[in-house]
């Protein structure tokens, strides 16, 4: 009876106490740039919240005096105290700590790792990306992500990602919410993301919140800068192989801003005079470029519009001309070959605040990835006879999406953060179409104009989700959600209900236990057989014969902060994947006369392992070391005779360490060390003669030498390891700041394996030969900022 009375009193008190909402946006004081994931915490009530990807926050508290602590990594913490007796709009600008004290990198009172309900999630500091040593002078977000536990890099130099045993297609790479299908330049040696234009990067490997869907293994959520709202600025760099320039500033101060960032390589321009000097009539080269643009406009505190675009292309080209005369006839030939691929994305987003508790974002996006191989030849002759003959061949593959979605953030109470939304995407797949044209003036020969290969396919993908980040008591915080998605192929309708959960339980003030479960469904497949992220990989839809990929992942772990500066996380995971596709034995992307569905097998995969990440965020020396112990397997009924085999990137041990040290405001250094168990490859270790024919007298018969592969991926390449060193020399100038960056990639010149093959030496002895790509590679770049 007494407890019932107490409960009633509590209810009356709760209902009777007026609640008011503090809402607004958090931004950088100097630039007006959005601060994503900044923390607001009321020291009096112990309630808090974080800003969303648009910098919006909302915190509902009882009528009382509030003592707000507003903090963000790398920024000076602000404290505010006021009496809350009505709803309050609070737009807060934080000042960067580095600007106050350049001698030390300080992480202030941000939400600590053990307090977050999410797990298997890492936010990557752009400062860290910019201060680590780099490959060929190009700062690369994807290569920084590769240093984290649970993420593997694939081949030497590649920016491809293999997360917790998943394939490269299983990563949802979002640039301002728009999926990027091929994030690689130059066969994966560089990623398409220009670090100068990026505001924040977040990697999710498991425990996926319900708002994410469509891929099995990871989400890489990259947000572009919005452009300085206060004043005009620029930054750029000149490197060995490329240069880039970023310009940003207000169009109308504090109302409208823009950012434009471009990059281009110039190996082809530098080499062109040399090729011309060779004088054999041929010209060839390679380049890539990309361009990021964004425009944002604040209509009011409630309404804001963003327009963003990305355009990037890679191109290999060669041209050859020749002319000769024979028997009074002059012949001219012109040959041209191209290999090009690229992404185009565009997004229009509109933020609207329905109330101080309900934030909405409406997005319309366009994304296109296209790969093209083209070859053409033209021959003309004049004189005794005249005529012409041309032929051209094009091979095209790609994917194009039109998408729309509406997302809501609803914060009814400090203990609930509800997100919900709905979206639809219209996909167009071009999974390898060949076109061949031939025109001739020669009598008796006919012109040809034909297309063959796989046909263009369409798909409708829809999604719906709801999640709640909820606090229960003082120790438990969880994110419960459900994601529903569907895909219509034109013949078959697939749908999937995907429950999601992640939560933490505070064991002590600095230590929490975490657990998560996520089911993920993927309606797209990537057919690849090279393992080095070639642009020839085909994006394919589910069909009536090829079902969607699905995974179930569970993870448990612990998070601990030691001495206020070391964040330690330990996680174990188990992931089961089904309906994975793989090329059949002997198949390749060449010969695309055959429909892709006839070239694939459908099977299963498993991955399990343990990851440890120790990160230091404070002090002159910062960085992390990550270790992964993992197993990854695949099983297909018609590959390896149905037996389970290790995935190519089954990497038992994987270590990534990244450390930077700031000596003073003029000099800092960075060191990266990576180690990984060698990739698993299929290697025949015995050879014998087999019969090539059923019939003994078959004219097509005879003996065929066979290299016997005992199991798929039966052989381990030597381990991969290297160290990279870098030093940055900064100087303040009259116009701004300049930085000279010197780097050594693979400083001890380790010959890491790229691929293996059997060869014969000069004495006729057979031997295993290793091909390595990059020895020690020095780099230098000059950066400027004004």
């Amino acid at each position: 009876m007494k407890s019932l009375f107490t409960f009633l009193c509590f209810c009356i008190a709760f209902v009777g106490t007026a609640q008011h909402t503090i809402s607004g946006y958090l931004q950088d004081n100097a630039s007006g740039e959005t601060l994503i994931g900044a923390t607001l915490f009321d020291l009096k009530s112990g309630k808090g919240t974080t800003s969303n990807v648009y910098g919006f926050f909302s915190l509902t508290l009882p009528q009382d005096t509030v003592k707000l602590r507003i903090s963000y990594v790398g920024y000076e913490t602000q404290f505010m105290e006021f009496y809350l007796n009505a709803d309050k709009t609070l737009n807060v600008s934080l000042s960067g700590v580095v600007a106050l004290n350049e001698f030390e990198v300080v992480a202030t009172e941000a939400e600590r790792i053990e307090e977050k309900s999410e797990m298997s999630t890492i936010e990557i500091s752009m400062d860290k990306v910019k201060s680590l040593p780099v490959f060929m002078g190009e700062r690369d977000i994807m290569k920084t992500i590769q240093l984290l536990p649970g993420v593997q890099s694939g081949s030497e130099g590649s920016s491809g990602l293999y997360v917790r045993g998943g394939g490269p297609d299983q990563n949802l790479i979002l640039l301002d919410g728009v999926p990027i299908y091929n994030a690689s330049h130059l066969f994966g040696f560089f990623s398409v993301f220009n670090a100068d234009a990026i505001n924040s990067v977040k990697l999710v490997k498991g425990g996926f919140p319900a708002r994410y869907g469509g891929r099995l293994s990871s989400v890489i959520d990259i947000r572009m800068k919005e452009g300085n709202m206060k004043e005009f600025h620029g930054e750029g760099s000149i490197g060995l192989i490329s240069s880039k320039l970023t310009l940003e500033g207000p169009i109308v101060k504090d109302k409208t801003s823009f950012i434009v960032s471009g990059r281009r390589t110039y190996i082809d321009l530098l080499a062109r005079p040399l090729i011309k000097a060779a004088g054999d009539g041929s010209v060839g080269g390679y380049y890539f470029y990309d361009l990021n643009t964004k425009l944002n406009h604040k209509f009011s505190d409630k309404s804001r519009l963003f327009l963003s675009g990305y355009f990037g292309n890679d191109k290999f080209y060669s041209r050859f001309k020749d002319e000769w005369t024979s028997s009074g006839t002059t012949y001219k030939t012109e040959e041209e070959g191209n290999l090009k691929w690229g992404n185009v994305i565009g997004a229009a987003r509109w933020n609207y605040l329905f109330s101080n508790k309900l934030f909405s974002n409406t997005t319309f996006t366009y994304s296109r990835y296209k790969f093209l191989v083209g070859f053409s030849e033209e021959e003309t002759w004049s004189g005794q006879t005249s005529g012409s003959q041309t032929f051209s061949f094009d091979y095209t593959s790609g994917i194009e999406d039109y998408s729309g979605k509406v997302d809501f953030d609803y914060l009814p109470h400090p203990d609930h953060y509800i997100k919900f939304g709905v979206g639809h995407t219209y996909h167009t797949f071009t999974p390898g179409v060949n076109s061949y044209k031939e025109n001739t003036s020669v009598q008796g020969e006919s012109s040809i104009d034909t297309a063959f290969g796989s046909s263009i396919q369409f798909g409708h993908e829809s999604s719906l989700y709801v999640e709640d980040d909820v606090k229960i008591g003082s120790r438990f915080k969880g994110n419960f959600g459900v994601h529903f998605s569907s895909f219509y192929t034109g013949k078959k309708f697939y749908n999937s209900l995907q429950p999601r959960f992640t939560g933490r339980y505070m064991i002590t003030e600095n230590l929490s236990a975490k657990a998560s479960y996520a089911r993920m469904t993927q309606f797209l497949h990537l057919l690849t057989n090279t393992g080095i992220g070639l642009p020839t990989d085909l994006w394919l839809p589910v069909t009536d014969k090829v079902p969607p990929q699905q995974s179930d992942q569970i993870a448990i772990g612990a998070a601990y902060t030691a001495k206020q500066q070391y964040e330690i996380s330990l996680e174990g995971y188990y992931k089961k994947m089904k309906n994975l596709i793989e090329y059949k034995d002997g198949a390749s992307f060449f010969g695309s006369e055959t429909d892709w569905q006839k070239k694939i097998e459908i099977g299963e995969g498993w991955s399990y392992g343990t990851e440890v990440l120790v990160e230091k965020k404070r002090g002159k020396t910062t960085g992390w070391i990550g270790y992964t112990l993992s197993w990854t397997k695949r099983q297909f009924d018609n590959i390896n005779f149905g037996e389970t085999f290790p995935y190519r990137y089954d990497r038992r041990h994987d270590i990534g360490a990244a450390v930077t040290h700031k000596f003073n405001d003029r000099v800092d250094i960075g060191i990266v060390w990576v180690y990984g168990t060698g990739n698993a490859v299929s290697l025949g270790l015995e050879r014998y003669n087999s019969l090539a024919s059923v019939l003994p007298n078959d004219p097509q018969g005879g003996a065929a030498e066979v290299e016997h592969i005992e199991n798929r991926n039966n052989y381990r390449m030597p381990a991969y390891h290297r160290i990279d060193l870098g030093v940055n020399l900064h100087k303040q100038t009259k116009w701004g700041k300049r930085t000279w960056s010197f780097g050594l990639y693979n400083a001890y010149s380790r010959q890491n394996p790229f691929y293996l093959y059997f060869s014969t030496d000069s004495n006729g002895n057979r031997e295993l030969t290793q091909v390595s790509l990059f020895p020690i590679l020095p780099s230098v770049s000059y950066q400027f900022k004004f």
Binding site: A587, G591, V694, L768, T769, Q770
Partner: protein, 290 residues
């Protein structure tokens, strides 16, 4: 195709340009001892023959010699010895008995310096072709011959190989008899090659178990320039699962060999403790006379 070659060259140039170095490395695996390789396609039309040779480690540059000093015994399904085959030339061991349809045969082979190997297989009943419809079409510049082949598949799992043989009635032909490649997109045919083109078609009865089944194949252009008196033989081989797996995998292996972009192929073997394939087959030939 030229364009494919062009693409390969382009990739090769890129990779060569990036390649820093090559070096021999130690093979981090047990160096395999030579094993016996036993190969035999046996049928009811001829006496039992088995070929023996040796395997080598992949880094052994020796010859894959025939093994003539071995002993090859053939046992029936109950393990009773039928015959010890006689060693002939070139590693071929021949018996005097003719295998019978419906019987399982076990081959055991041994030779000094090698571990014994064994394999067994069933000689299956031939499945006949019950009909072929022909349709010859001539276009402006080429022609094609479409054959609609009907078989009556017996209940239970069955495995088939198909080959088309053309025999020209003209002695001026350099090769009057040759295997004609054909195209088919029939779903029963299992291929992962560059196209739907086959020299040896391999198909199984997953889609039509125990039913009558008709499938089309098409011969194009130079294969169909037939004169009166020319003969086209459609040969349907009924074999075991082992024979099917071997024939399919060796075909894929040969097609993929040398293509750096192709998936690796494991060649099937049913020889225990060794390599090779011992498989029975029966054949049915349907002649088409022009």
């Amino acid at each position: 195709m030229n364009s494919y070659r062009y693409l390969i060259v382009l990739f090769a140039l890129v990779l060569t340009g990036l390649a820093a170095c090559e070096k021999p490395i130690e093979l981090n695996a047990e160096v395999k001892e030579p094993k016996l390789v036993a190969n035999s396609w046996f049928t009811a039309d001829s006496t039992m023959k088995v070929h023996l040779s040796r395997s080598l480690s992949v880094i052994d540059d020796g010859d894959l010699e025939n093994v003539g000093s071995g002993t090859v015994r053939v046992l029936d399904g109950n393990g009773s010895l039928i015959e010890t085959l006689t060693a002939g030339s070139n590693g071929v061991y021949e018996g005097t008995f003719t295998p019978k349809v419906g019987q399982t045969y076990q081959v055991e082979a041994s030779a000094p310096g090698y571990n014994s190997v064994s394999a067994s297989d069933l000689l299956v009943q031939a499945v006949p072709i019950t009909g072929i419809d022909t349709n010859r079409r001539t276009f402006e510049f080429d022609s094609e011959l479409e054959l609609k082949i009907t078989i009556q598949d017996p209940p239970g799992e069955n495995w088939y190989l198909l080959r088309v043989q053309t025999i020209h009635n003209d002695s001026s032909f350099v090769r009057p008899a040759y295997a004609s490649g054909f195209y088919t997109s029939d779903p029963a045919f299992e291929s992962a090659g560059d196209s739907d083109y086959y020299t040896w078609g391999t198909f199984r009865d997953r889609l039509f178990d125990g039913q009558e089944y008709t499938f089309p194949i098409t011969l194009y252009s130079y294969d169909v320039s037939f004169q009166v008196g020319d003969l086209v033989e459609v040969e349907l081989f009924t074999t075991s699962e082992a024979g099917y797996n071997f024939r399919r995998s060796i075909g894929l292996y040969q097609e993929a060999n040398g293509n750096p972009f192709a998936q690796p192929v494991q060649v099937y073997s049913n020889v225990k403790d060794g390599f090779g394939c011992v498989a029975g087959y029966t054949s049915f030939v349907w002649p088409i006379q022009f």
